[in-house]
């Protein structure tokens, strides 16, 4: 019997895949149901956000310190905000509302977070991709100059957002205050995150400060890939990677710590 319990890595991966799959479907069904357009809301909702902000910025002719088309600026900027901001938002209270799942031993707290992160990532990515296609097709913007750099910047932002999401989610399980503070913090971080400015447009003193914000590097990298020849992108992928790495370790420790303190009814 001991052999059956200590299963192999491959079997464990199989369980992991199955659990995540089941959780994903359950999350999607719970969140979007089967009414009207159903799953399509997954990326229609972030698309509407981005479109709205693009329209608003175009109408007000927001200053962004470059001669880039405002549509391109809003698309790259606001899509990344959605990416790193929605993941923590969905992970706060994720365990509390799924507490009963803890009765199934093969479901771990981390699985619940990962399922929600995957959904947010998929939604934001599809929205970014679809809008890019639409804007390119309607000749609002040009196709990206370097697709791989765009993808790299996107993944880097996603990684950071995921680690942030798990950290905030796990902390919010123990401390209600985290939930209360995250909302104002995310609103304040939005203008600071590089969505609304180019680093090169800032004075060197301010530049030094904003470059401590990890999200700025991701946005700059995406913009470098999209229209690098028209602007002067300033970013350091190494810094963003180290930030994400440290945060990831913290996230994993926190989840384990929180999981030990759960008490389902």
């Amino acid at each position: 019997m001991a052999i059956a319990a200590q299963t192999s890595l491959i079997a464990n991966l199989g369980v992991q895949r199955r659990v995540l799959g089941a959780l994903l479907l359950r999350e999607l069904l719970t969140r979007y149901g089967r009414h009207n357009i159903g799953f399509l809301w997954l990326f229609v909702e972030p698309m509407l956000f981005t479109l709205g902000v693009t329209a608003l910025w175009t109408a007000t002719r927001s200053l962004h310190g470059s001669n880039l088309p405002i549509a391109a600026f809003a698309l790259t900027g606001y899509s990344t905000v959605l990416l790193w901001r929605n993941m923590p938002g969905r992970c706060i209270g994720a365990i509390e509302s799924n507490m009963a799942l803890m009765y199934h031993r093969n479901v771990r707290a981390l699985d619940i977070y990962v399922a929600r992160i995957i959904i947010e990532f998929a939604g934001a990515t599809m929205s970014f991709f679809t809008l890019s296609l639409v804007f390119i097709a309607s000749e609002l913007i040009k196709p990206p100059e370097d697709f791989l750099t765009v993808a790299g910047g996107w993944m880097l932002t996603a990684w950071f957002g995921a680690a942030l999401a798990i950290t905030i989610g796990a902390l919010s399980q123990e401390y209600e205050l985290v939930d209360k503070l995250w909302h104002p913090a995310s609103y304040l971080l939005f203008p600071l995150s590089g969505a609304a400015y180019l680093v090169s447009a800032l004075s060197s003193a301010v530049r030094e400060i904003v470059l401590y914000i990890p999200m700025v590097h991701g946005v700059e990298m995406i913009r470098d890939g999209y229209f690098g020849s028209q602007i002067e992108p300033i970013y350091d992928p190494g810094y963003a990677i180290i930030c994400s790495l440290v945060l990831s370790v913290a996230a994993l420790i926190l989840v384990r710590w929180t999981e030990k303190r759960l008490s389902p009814r």
Partner: protein, 466 residues
């Protein structure tokens, strides 16, 4: 095998950590069915959640070398806005099973019909229980955790659950938590009692049950808070509910029921007697007491019990044949009507044995009432008011109140807080009555000054002859 070694569980509360389980050790192998007895709040549910792995122990270790179910009868893990079908599919995916095959089983077993396609949040608690149990049965676990306390559902469904669980899956390991020793005796082969976070294991059911009962006796008595009911039937109804919420009472009557089913009449009478001494107005057990004393040939006591049950509202239609059967042949009272309550003022209601004992204690200072006299009074069919009036007029003045009173014939148990029963009977406030007594007032006057005996006409004792 499941091994629980030195498991301690603390919960954080506002007043600091609270220890719920304390150094639990147990082993469970296939084919073993462990029954864990414990009162409410003893830590049973915590133990079952820890063994199931929903929670982690604060200290200690739990190793599972077989698959363990979630606690059965647990309706959670359902997402309310998903349909029954979605929930079945989810669990099937989670445990790597064929969803369609499972759906067929659940459809047939839970009998939810079209409701299976509706959101679970629209289910009644009974439907939820059926779905939960059906889903629990689709995964073939090696060990089932069963929470008998939380189990719901109609009796027909219960029967099928029992068959699925204890017959078809009797080779599995099981851990059942309950506060019903009888249920555990029927389904388990190992027994343990959980008390204040500590687990004691027993080789056989009887020693476990004795230990459990001993614990109950040493614990705080559940008491009814007296409401100033002016209508007796309402008071009796609320007192019955208090009795049903008292685990000690329920354990005693379940034990007595089991003894009755084995035709062990003496033990059954002892159980019902002890139980009724705790909650003397739970009328259905007066009927049972009547049956088990009749079986022993104590016809007078059986008649007392039956008539008491009728006085407290049991249907006369059902009990009349029994009363006729136990009445002595040729008795003149055979044809006299059986006194029943009419829902009106308490003072006009017929007395039961309990009331006679209480009133005798008040009027004469005796610690009970003789069976013969009680039977005469019960047959006469007077009201509480006339009985007390007669007792007062015949009794010597200045009798001191007894410490204890036997409220059940046969002297199974005496009651020391009988003054509360008396106060409740006559509509007086318990605390005010006690206060008046300690001021040195006469018992009758004390009851009156505590707001009791309103409108009761009690003759003033003739002091000149005293």
């Amino acid at each position: 095998m499941i091994t629980v070694s030195n498991v301690t569980k603390h919960y954080r509360t506002r007043t600091g950590p609270k220890r719920v389980l304390d150094g639990i050790n147990l082993k469970l192998t296939k084919g073993e069915r462990l029954g864990v007895l414990g009162r409410n709040g003893a830590g049973k549910s915590t133990l079952i959640r820890l063994v199931g792995g929903a929670e982690a122990p604060t200290f200690g270790k739990i190793t599972r070398e077989m698959s363990v179910s979630w606690p059965l009868a647990f309706g959670g893990a359902f997402q309310g806005n998903l349909t029954g079908i979605d929930n079945v599919r989810f669990i099937s995916r989670l445990y790597n099973q064929d969803p369609e095959h499972n759906l067929a089983f659940v459809e047939q077993f839970a009998e939810l019909g079209q409701y299976l396609r509706e959101p679970v949040s629209s289910y009644s608690s009974g439907m939820l229980a059926r779905l939960a149990f059906a889903i629990s049965m689709i995964i073939e676990f090696d060990c089932f955790l069963i929470d008998e306390v939380a189990a719901v559902g109609d009796s027909r469904f219960h029967e099928r659950c029992n068959y699925e669980l204890f017959d078809r899956r009797s080779d599995r390991a099981m851990m059942i938590i309950s506060h019903d020793p009888g249920y555990l005796r029927d389904h388990c082969n190992r027994f343990a009692v959980l008390d204040q976070g500590r687990l004691t294991t027993f080789a056989d059911h009887d020693t476990a049950q004795d230990h459990f009962l001993a614990q109950m006796r040493s614990s705080v008595v559940v008491r009814a808070v007296a409401q100033p009911f002016s209508r007796r039937l309402a008071a009796i109804d609320s007192l019955r509910r208090v009795a049903h919420a008292d685990e000690h009472f329920m354990t005693l009557v379940r034990q007595a029921d089991a003894a009755r089913d084995r035709h062990d009449w003496t033990l059954a009478e002892a159980g019902y007697g002890e139980a009724l001494a705790l909650h003397p107005y739970e009328r259905s057990y007066w009927v049972q007491l009547g049956h088990v004393t009749r079986e022993q040939g104590c016809l007078a006591r059986a008649e007392i019990a039956y008539r008491t049950a009728c006085a407290y509202g049991e249907p006369v239609r059902v009990l009349a044949p029994f009363i006729t059967a136990v009445a002595p042949p040729g008795s003149s009272t055979l044809n006299s009507p059986i006194a029943v309550p009419d829902g009106g003022d308490t003072r006009r209601q017929p007395p039961g044995y309990v009331d006679l004992a209480l009133l005798a204690a008040l009027a004469r200072g005796t610690d009970g009432i003789a069976d013969e006299e009680a039977l005469v009074l019960l047959r006469e069919g007077g009201s509480l008011e006339t009985v007390l009036a007669r007792m007062m007029s015949e009794a010597p003045a200045g009798a001191a109140l007894p410490q204890q009173v036997a409220l059940v014939p046969g002297g199974w148990a005496v009651r020391s807080d009988w003054r509360d029963d008396l106060a409740r009977l006559v509509g007086a406030e318990q605390d005010a009555f006690d206060a008046a007594l300690s001021r040195g007032e006469e018992p009758l006057a004390a009851l009156r000054s505590a707001g009791g005996l309103a409108e009761w006409i009690i003759p003033v004792r003739d002091t000149t002859t005293a």
